[in-house]
């Protein structure tokens, strides 16, 4: 936790929760976006992305289902920029788990969010524009495909979330 405490008081910080049933996926997503990544002993990933000297984004990756209950949703949800729910496109259990998590988050918060299906290894070619655009499920919820082997894809996902926030901000 020292990683957080060093920076939190001196910078403007946006917080994003990256959740889903598979911690390696979250870790990969966060690694693609962050300058620094820290994995804690209790299977949680923290990432920091420096935008400017004064502005940073913190990513909280929570991977294992048991960790959802330990995560301080009540503290983070009121102020976070949004959430990214990552699942493996090819696994039914992964999809079902994200459904439940989405049900919980969408039902009890009005945060912006994006559901991301990892299609790495898909035998057919997917046009880059498909990754970049995503589509809207509601005014604050999007869906996008993600190739977890491609760093640029994670940026596209985050861009969709940020665009959604900008469009809603007063």
């Amino acid at each position: 936790m020292s990683f957080l405490s060093i920076h939190k008081d001196t910078h403007r910080i946006g917080e994003i929760v990256v959740a889903g049933p598979s911690l390696p996926l979250q870790k990969r997503f966060i690694t693609h976006l962050c300058n620094e990544v820290v994995i804690t002993g209790n299977s949680t990933v923290f990432g920091r992305s420096k935008i400017t000297d004064e502005l940073q984004i913190f990513f909280y990756g929570i991977g294992e289902k048991e960790n959802y209950m330990d995560f301080a949703w009540d503290l983070v949800a009121p102020k976070m920029l949004g959430y990214v729910l990552v699942y493996n496109w090819f696994e039914g259990n992964s999809f079902a788990s994200v459904q439940n998590l989405l049900n919980m988050l969408a039902g009890h918060t009005d945060c912006h969010g994006i559901v991301v299906g990892d299609v790495a290894g898909m035998p057919i070619h997917i046009e880059p524009s498909v990754y970049e655009s995503g589509f809207s499920l509601s005014s604050k919820l999007y869906f996008a495909l993600w190739d977890s082997t491609d760093k640029a894809n994670a940026k596209s996902v985050l861009k969709i979330l940020i665009d959604s926030l900008i469009n809603h901000l007063e």
């Binding site: 935008i51 209950m69 009540d74 009890h108 912006h112 499920l137 861009k159 940020i162 469009n167």
Partner: protein
């Protein structure tokens, strides 16, 4: 492919950089006009209403800043997206510029390709539905029946807010500019005097409004302060309500009855009657006449009592129904979003139940415990902690 070419105005001094940008924009099917004088650029934007403006605030020193303020203060141009090209490298200064209302900025020297990409991006952002939502999200919308102009101004005065109150009567629209809670300007068609425009709009007790909060860089055009205007306004609204009490709706269309024996009428009555040779609403006739609102209303009432005006079957005409359309679009957008969201949500709820049937009790308990962490706080309201400027910086970085 776009249905119609977007028109872009570039306000900058001539340079190879600008020429390259113009060429690339034209290659991408944009119509481009380049102007290097601030006043020419402003006048041109007023007339041509371009879809986007690209400008360098330092191009003409103070004139560049004035140009920006003029564009943002003029109702008809304030919603045109602006991209600033700047040599300003300081982060704080850039944030300041974005917070002033600049939609995007590009550091100079720039790659023309980057500017074109941003322009395309901005046009996607400012597509009509988004634009409507954005406009209203910065303020609020409502009916003048429920909230009068006086109520609106008093609300803004209490919060020391700045912005534009846009009013629509159905067939006419007007604007009241408020700076830190004080009325500084009032604009409505056919009324040159600011006081008269304000007093005229007080009689609009049936119609819609929307308020946009924004900086208003205008010196006050009014002699009276808010309190004096409120006092006068409350009196007028009361008198107006009593005056229209016995009349049909002011949007009712009337026509003059042909009667050769009009010699007994007063000059004002004959003059007003002449405006009803063709079907007109009461409001329209008052507007085109030389009489003020109260006198006009009194004369029409007299003509109705004498049976010289009769109702026609024509419905009220809504020449400028932008506000009503906006209101309608907003409501539809909200309804659609809610329906879509509820639909998605209900699917997940059903899926959750079926999942619960298929999975072990440990998983269910985990879900329940996690959910209880949220439900015990009710529905959590999220307030994004970063400003729009900061989010734009993030997006800019992601775009690289």
């Amino acid at each position: 492919m776009r249905d119609q070419a977007h028109h872009i105005v570039i306000f900058d001094k001539s340079s190879l950089e600008v020429e390259r940008l113009v060429q690339l924009l034209r290659d991408n099917s944009f119509d481009v006009t380049v102007l290097s004088n601030a006043q020419d650029a402003y006048q041109f934007c007023l007339v041509s209403q371009p879809d986007l403006i690209v400008f360098d605030i330092k191009v003409a020193g103070k004139e560049g800043l004035n140009f920006y303020r003029q564009i943002k203060n003029q109702y008809s141009t304030q919603r045109i997206p602006l991209i600033l090209t700047t040599e300003e490298a300081d982060h704080n200064k850039r944030v300041e510029l974005i917070e002033m209302g600049i939609d995007d900025f590009v550091a100079k020297p720039y790659y023309a390709e980057e500017v074109v990409a941003r322009i395309i991006n901005l046009f996607q952002e400012f597509r009509p539905a988004t634009f409507i939502s954005k406009s209203v999200e910065r303020g609020f919308i409502g009916s003048l029946k429920e909230m009068t102009l006086i109520d609106l101004i008093q609300t803004m005065e209490l919060g020391k807010k700045s912005g534009v109150i846009n009013l629509n009567r159905g067939d006419k629209e007007g604007q009241i500019y408020v700076n830190r809670g004080r009325i500084v300007d009032a604009v409505v068609e056919d009324y040159d005097s600011v006081e008269r425009a304000y007093l005229h709009m007080l009689t609009w007790i049936d119609g819609t409004f929307y308020v946009i909060f924004q900086d208003v860089h205008l010196d006050s055009q009014l002699v009276s302060d808010n309190q004096a205007l409120f006092k006068e306004g409350a009196k007028i609204i009361d008198q107006w309500r009593r005056a229209i009490g016995e009349l049909p709706s002011l949007h009712t269309c009337l026509i003059a009855v042909k009667d050769e024996n009009n010699s007994a009428l007063s000059y004002p009555e004959r003059s007003m009657l002449a405006h009803f040779h063709e079907s007109r609403s009461i409001l329209q006739a008052i507007d085109v006449s030389d009489f003020d609102d109260f006198d006009g209303l009194k004369i029409i009432k007299s003509l109705l009592e004498k049976g010289l005006l009769i109702k026609t079957d024509m419905h009220r005409t809504e020449k400028n129904s932008q506000h009503l359309a906006l209101h309608h679009a907003l409501e539809t957008d909200k309804r659609d979003a809610k329906t879509k969201y509820s639909h998605i949500f209900s699917i997940f709820q059903r899926n959750k139940r079926s999942n619960a049937d298929n999975h072990g009790s440990m998983n269910d308990k985990t879900d329940e415990r996690a959910e209880s962490l949220l439900t015990q706080h009710g529905r959590i309201k999220n307030n994004v902690q970063l400003t729009k400027a900061e989010l734009l910086l993030i997006r800019q970085k992601l775009g690289k």
